[in-house]
């Protein structure tokens, strides 16, 4: 490569920005901000019936926000030149997150501390800590939380199965490519489809093929969702069937990344297979394993669709998950205030739990080379 082809060190120098340009930059940022504040103010007055401007919806505020966001970004370049362009790498993303996460969360907090029954002619009413007290004495919610512990613990078994399948698919077996695709199929299916195909059809007590098989095998009246333990276990199995491939594919990718030399060295040293697995494969796979488990936990904490479709949380709440209970509280009972509070509380639990898990996992993530 010749020097003329641009082998220069690129240095960003402070731009020479004129006062006029600087003032213009400030003007569009602050001007658009004033416009946004004014629009919000007018819409609020209109909404609360103090003044009437004939606004049909909140779109004017949305447009004013988008205009302000655009001006803010443009203003960075005008005000700071090359440095401003750097800020554009992150600023739109920050604004987007604020728009679709932070704002809704703030509104949700407002709703969470309200009594808002959609059938009430009074609309939303601030009710302080009443939702907290209600949750504290709500056996359905605590039952659902308890079930979530069972569901989450089941991930350990899922992990063992996923690891085993990944090991199998990492060996030189016949039709390996076919099996890799076949094992991934459940992940491609929607949990709603799984719940109907398996939970409502194949496991149907009278006509379902699995029930028929069970009868053939001597189980007179097969019932897969009749008892608490059985129903919970079958829900776990359906969920596991759907998501084990996700863990499996992550672990498989990790297995394929292990240098062959390590196993070859172990072979030379005469290490037996179990020793090779326990001393080489498993430690090397710890970072991937923990990542896969953490992702799986996040998926598991959102478990709802299969439960809603198959058991509606029954029998007697034995399969209820927090999400399926909140769904029922919100959807069937139109209890928006309480439902939102439960969701926010659950979110806080998840954030704390995941932070602790990640901290603990961080120590394990370092492979023992």
């Amino acid at each position: 490569m010749s020097a003329s082809e641009g082998n220069y060190l690129h240095i960003v120098m402070p731009d020479q920005i004129s006062d006029t340009r600087r003032n213009f930059g400030r003007f569009i940022i602050w001007g658009s901000a004033v416009l946004l504040i004014l629009t919000v103010l007018l819409q609020s007055l209109d909404q609360s019936n103090f003044l009437s401007f004939g606004f049909e919806n909140w779109r004017p505020t949305l447009y004013a926000y988008l205009f302000w966001a655009f001006c803010l970004c443009l203003g960075q370049v005008i005000l700071y030149g090359e440095q401003g362009k750097r800020r554009l790498f992150i600023l739109p993303a920050v604004l987007f997150v604020i728009s679709v996460v932070i704002f809704p969360l703030i509104f949700a907090l407002g709703i969470a501390f309200s009594s808002w029954n959609l059938s009430s002619p009074d609309g939303r009413q601030f009710n302080g800590l009443a939702n907290v007290y209600q949750m504290w004495s709500d056996p359905f919610y605590w039952n659902a939380l308890k079930n979530m512990i069972y569901y989450t613990l089941a991930i350990l078994f899922e992990y063992i199965i996923a690891f085993s399948l990944a090991l199998l698919l990492n060996t030189q077996i016949r039709a390996r490519k076919f099996f890799r695709v076949a094992f991934l199929m459940p992940l491609m299916l929607s949990p709603v489809a799984v719940s109907w195909m398996i939970g409502k059809s194949m496991l149907e007590a009278r006509f379902g093929p699995i029930s028929r098989l069970a009868r053939e095998l001597g189980w007179e009246n097969p019932s897969f969702f009749g008892s608490h333990e059985m129903a919970r276990a079958v829900i776990m199995m359906m969920d596991a069937w759907t998501f084990i491939p996700l863990m499996m594919i992550m672990i498989l990718a990790g297995l394929q990344a292990i240098p062959k030399e390590m196993h070859e060295a172990a072979d030379v040293d005469g290490a037996p297979p179990w020793k090779k697995f326990w001393e080489i494969t498993f430690p090397l796979m710890l970072p991937v394993s923990i990542t896969a488990i953490l992702i799986r936990i996040i998926f598991k904490l959102k478990l709802a669709d299969i439960i809603i479709n198959v058991t509606s949380g029954g029998p007697g709440g034995a399969t209820d998950s927090v999400t399926s209970f909140i769904f029922r509280e919100y959807r069937d009972r139109s209890n928006v205030g309480y439902g939102t509070f439960l969701a926010i509380f659950y979110l806080i639990i998840i954030v704390i739990l995941m932070t602790i898990l990640i901290k603990i996992a961080d120590k394990w993530m370092r492979p023992r080379y």
Partner: protein, 544 residues
């Protein structure tokens, strides 16, 4: 006078004695007139023709049949609308998609209407369980995004009460023959402050469906006749345990209680059982005390109904396996129509599906009657049981109707289009067809009870008299259950389903404890909606 016509009049509440009285005789003839005109007017040929599409026993009708019926019944529309008159008009219709009926059916019916008028309809299809929240959210957030809605009368308090509906024009009343309705659907149902809003497309009541091969000489129950009381129902459920179903050879079962909720709709089925225990003829209320909204769900009458179910749960084999996960859709369509169980309460769909649905195996062995009574009734005002026979059939949900929202106001062309579309699917002739074939709707007009029309369509006379007669008996019963049209009624039902599920799963120690939990939850709902406004609307809905 034909015997069957006489029977029809008697079912309308007239006796032979009153028939012979002069004044009453006139009334009786008028009543006959209400039933006869379908055959006497110029539409008789059309009605006979649509009843043959596709013909009883010719399989379930589909989109082709729905379009054909819609096309044939366009006459009243053409009388009032010019071809292409609504070109450029777009309407949004919100309704259900249960069992691929309701909106699917309306699509077929309205396709020829769209072709003729030039209007376009956009559809919002909702599952039964999603219907209530979708509607409530639209109302509460003031985002009503539909011009026409299929809605049950229980929601009239939420919609008409808040001025969200458009009043029905007089020409629509003429087009649909508005007065051709059974008694309990006459105003005030469908009206608010004296204004009419509802085009009826359905009449709702639960009837008692039973397997005729379980009764009679040599039957497995050993009983000559189907039960007349819930006490007998429970005894039969116990008696058939361990026996074989005469039709399928599988284990025989008695009454099919849905033990799993159904978005609030499951509560109607416990109400079927509880009705005769709790609906005293001298008291219009049965769910709440009218003056205080204090729940009655934990009074001895309701507790007895819950206890009856719990008694059967305890007996191994009284219910089919996995009954704890059977919702009403399961008990009606996957169990009863498929030959599992011998007794059921359901809407009239079971009757019309028994012989026309491809998956039904019970068409020749199904009978119908009014919901059983009880040999005792709880008098809530006196706080004591009375040992007298009591009947209280359940007009559950009061039927579906079609309403036009106030979004059409200010645009006369759109308003006319919306009402024309609604009137087409609620038309007199089309409604006969929906009553006779799988549609999700059951008979609701006086003109639906002309048995000759059904017989001519291929229905067995005895079957249809049995099926329609059970509906008519319920519609006109003096002590029938008409639920209060108060806001949030399904919230009460939904939370009751959750608590009942716990009770049925054995998580409460008794029926009383289960009922107390429901009552406590209902009190919270009443407080959250507003007790005073609930009391006011409850009284209004009860006509007090």
């Amino acid at each position: 006078m034909k015997v069957e016509l006489y029977n029809h009049i008697v079912r309308n509440g007239l006796t032979r004695r009153t028939m012979l009285k002069g004044a009453a005789s006139t009334a009786a003839l008028a009543a006959m007139g209400g039933a006869v005109p379908a055959l006497a007017d110029g539409h008789s040929a059309l009605r006979a023709a649509i009843m043959k599409i596709p013909g009883v026993g010719m399989g379930s009708p589909g989109d082709a049949e729905w379009q054909k019926v819609g096309e044939m019944c366009l006459g009243p529309v053409k009388d009032r609308v010019k071809p292409g008159e609504f070109k450029g008009v777009e309407l949004t219709f919100m309704g259900l998609n249960n069992q691929n009926l309701h909106n699917f059916l309306f699509r077929g019916f309205l396709k020829p209407w769209e072709a003729y008028t030039g209007a376009k309809i956009n559809w919002i299809d909702l599952a039964q369980a999603d219907y209530n929240p979708r509607l409530q959210q639209s109302i509460a957030t003031k985002t009503v995004d539909f011009d026409i809605i299929e809605m049950g009368a229980p929601f009239e308090g939420d919609t008409a009460g808040q001025g969200l509906l458009n009043e029905m024009p007089d020409w629509v009343k003429d087009q649909i023959d508005y007065d051709d309705l059974v008694g309990y659907l006459q105003p005030p149902v469908g009206t608010w402050d004296g204004k009419a809003y509802r085009i009826n497309i359905d009449g709702d009541c639960h009837t008692f469906c039973y397997r005729t091969d379980y009764f009679g000489s040599g039957s497995i129950t050993g009983r000559a006749n189907p039960p007349k009381t819930w006490q007998e129902v429970n005894q039969i459920s116990k008696d058939v345990v361990g026996k074989k179903d005469p039709l399928t050879g599988l284990p025989a079962h008695g009454f099919l209680d849905p033990l799993k909720g159904w978005g609030g709709f499951g509560m109607y089925f416990l109400t079927d059982r509880a009705g005769p225990y709790v609906k005293h003829p001298d008291d219009p209320a049965f769910l709440f005390d009218i003056d205080t909204m204090k729940p009655r769900i934990n009074n001895p009458g309701w507790v007895q109904a819950i206890q009856d179910v719990m008694d059967l749960i305890k007996i191994d084999g009284a219910y089919p396996a996995d009954q704890i996960n059977a919702d009403p859709g399961t008990t009606g369509f996957q169990q009863f129509l498929a030959g599992t169980g011998s007794m059921l309460t359901w809407w009239g769909d079971i009757g019309s599906n028994a012989r026309t649905n491809d998956s039904s195996v019970i068409g020749d062995v199904v009978g119908f009657s009014m919901i059983p009574g009880s040999d005792k009734v709880y008098n809530s005002k006196k706080g004591a049981w009375e040992n007298t026979y009591n009947e209280a059939p359940n007009n559950a949900y009061l039927g579906w109707g079609v309403y036009v929202t106030n979004r059409v106001e200010g645009d006369s062309k759109k308003r006319k289009a919306a009402w024309s579309a609604a009137a087409h699917i609620g038309g007199k002739d089309i409604s006969l067809w929906t009553s006779a074939y799988p549609s999700g709707f059951q008979p609701y007009r006086n003109s639906h009870f002309v048995y000759d029309e059904w017989e001519a369509a291929g229905y067995d006379r005895a079957f249809i008299e049995d099926y329609l007669g059970s509906n008519l008996d319920t519609y006109n019963h003096p002590n029938s259950l008409n639920e209060p049209r108060i806001p949030g009624i399904f919230q009460y039902y939904s939370v009751a389903e959750d608590e009942l599920a716990k009770g049925f799963a054995g998580q409460y120690s008794s029926a009383q404890e289960t009922a107390d939990a429901i009552a406590a939850a209902w009190e919270k709902i009443t407080d959250s909606i507003g007790r005073e406004s609930q009391i006011k609307l409850y009284k209004a809905s009860m006509g007090l």
